[in-house]
């Protein structure tokens, strides 16, 4: 029995470790190399149970591998506004924003979340595997603005508590009135006596929080959150691995850098026109994106559902009328929807909802259909 897609073998010792590495190992997390990080792909409960528990109760994720870049100075907002696609000037203190670092061609260096701590202080939270590249890109695109840049990735642990029970669980550990914290807003506060940042954000399609704290308090917070969420009971919070994180974000229709987004795809092609504020003033890539918008897209990211028996996987070809027209960027079973779903870049003529396509699943053509994304939307 040989693995042909993702190899789940043991990891090499030189991998980077988050402050929760020991906790993962003690709890039976199956560790894998994820972009140079030694991370749990799943815990003993298994990916499906972790996914379902997050949708119905709560799941806890270690996301300490994410990078954090600190931008301070009187021109912090002006600088970030020039290197990202969304409108940084619209943020108020305590607000976060999904955005992207773009190339002059309008393609994507990384997607990120911009936190406004103060008028002269922003925190950029970027993907783990792109942190070094982003840091170099940000420094090299700094031209004279009065800002101080620091890569502070090692100063934070980050964990995400997601799911309908997230607020109730976290509220037992903090005096911050969580019900008053709106989506994509954050506040400084104590969690179990540890000073950190509590943010109502996430990557699962559920309500939930991301907590940033000093790395030496990571284990304390991790264990306290699991205890508060009665992890030992059948309806308690479950620690979740990267596999569940991926299926949750895919079901919720969210892009993953390296799959849906990279330096060969533009934000408009990726359906991220809503974070391209072409009228906000100049930013890197604005001209190219404005031109592409005016000329119209030739291809775009489309969600699909497999109709016949079979599971589409990353990198498989998409076939329409016998011709190879695109590639699957993410393909997976969707545990909550109990369907097999995916994303693919398709020529604009065959990217409409209802379009019948085929996926080349290891030499066998399997029928699928373009559907509206997100595949899953939680009831509010």
């Amino acid at each position: 029995m040989a693995c042909v897609v993702n190899d789940l073998t043991a990891t090499a010792p030189e991998l980077k470790r988050t402050p929760l590495n020991n906790a993962h190992r003690q709890m039976g997390g199956r560790m894998v190399d994820f972009g140079g990080w030694d991370m749990p792909v799943q815990y003993p409960a298994g990916t499906i149970e972790e996914h379902l528990r997050t949708r119905t109760r709560a799941g806890l994720f270690d996301v300490s591998h994410m990078g954090e870049i600190d931008v301070r100075g009187t021109e912090a907002i002006a600088f970030v506004n020039r290197i990202t696609s969304n409108d940084t000037t619209k943020l108020v203190d305590g607000q976060a924003q999904y955005s992207a670092l773009t190339t002059p061609e309008g393609t994507v260096i990384d997607d990120l979340v911009v936190y406004r701590l103060a008028a002269d202080h922003l925190l950029l939270v970027v993907n783990a595997s792109t942190t070094d590249k982003d840091w170099e890109w940000i420094k090299s695109n700094h031209s004279g603005e009065s800002v101080e840049l620091n890569n502070v990735s090692a100063d934070y642990c980050q964990m995400a508590l997601q799911g309908p029970d997230a607020q109730t669980i976290l509220q037992t550990l903090t005096d911050v009135p969580l019900s008053e914290l709106r989506y994509y807003h954050f506040t400084r506060g104590n969690i179990d006596g540890v000073a950190g940042i509590i943010s109502r954000t996430g990557y699962t399609g559920e309500d939930g929080f991301e907590v940033y704290a000093p790395p030496d308090r990571a284990e304390q917070l991790w264990n306290k959150i699991l205890d508060a969420g009665k992890t030992d009971t059948p309806t308690g919070v479950l620690p979740c691995g990267l596999a569940a994180r991926n299926t949750l974000r895919l079901e919720a229709g969210m892009a993953l850098y390296g799959n849906e987004l990279d330096e060969s795809t533009t934000l408009l092609e990726a359906n991220l026109g809503w974070i391209c504020k072409l009228d906000k003033g100049d930013f890197i890539g604005r001209e190219a994106l404005a031109r592409q918008k005016a000329e119209g897209l030739k291809r775009k990211l489309a969600g699909f559902e497999v109709i016949e028996r079979g599971i589409a996987r990353d990198h498989q070809d998409v076939v329409v009328a016998g011709e190879r027209v695109g590639t699957v960027t993410s393909g997976s079973p969707a545990p909550f929807l109990k369907k097999n779903i995916g994303f693919a870049y398709l020529p604009i003529e065959v990217a409409n909802v209802g379009q019948e396509i085929q996926i080349d699943v290891r030499g066998k053509l399997v029928g699928a259909q373009v559907v509206k994304a997100p595949f899953y939307k939680r009831a509010k």
Partner: protein
């Protein structure tokens, strides 16, 4: 610790073989199902198809991964486990029982002697996971 029944034969690709007369029942081991994770799809051949030894006869898919499964012995497929189409998770819960995959009429029943014994397979998986 993975369960390795004494009375079965094993391959280095983590399949098991149970001999029943001149037929071989084939599935994947407890160690294999555990490293694969939640099984969500099993693709099997049709009865009547012929396979050489160590040939791929189908695939097992978890949420995250696809793995091919190989015939430890040569032969013709006599029967497949059709219940796995609707309940692939049986491969996880009962890998040596309800999780069986195919029953093969062996072309050379002496072939099973070249497979690993339970003790040999246990040593093999220990070495592999170190």
């Amino acid at each position: 610790m993975a369960n390795v029944p004494e009375d079965l034969h094993y391959s280095k690709d983590h399949e098991w073989v149970r001999v029943d007369g001149n037929e071989a029942i084939i599935g994947i081991t407890d160690y294999a199902q555990n490293s694969l994770g939640d099984v969500v799809y099993v693709e099997l051949p049709k009865a009547g198809e012929e396979f050489a030894a160590n040939e791929s006869f189908g695939s097992v898919e978890s949420v995250k991964a696809v793995s091919e499964v190989f015939t430890p012995v040569a032969g013709t497929v006599a029967k497949i486990n059709e219940a796995l189409a609707d309940e692939p998770e049986t491969v996880n819960s009962d890998p040596y029982g309800g999780g069986w995959m195919i029953r093969v009429k062996m072309s050379n029943s002496g072939e099973v002697d070249s497979l690993l014994t339970a003790a040999e397979y246990e040593d093999f998986t220990k070495a592999e996971s170190e």
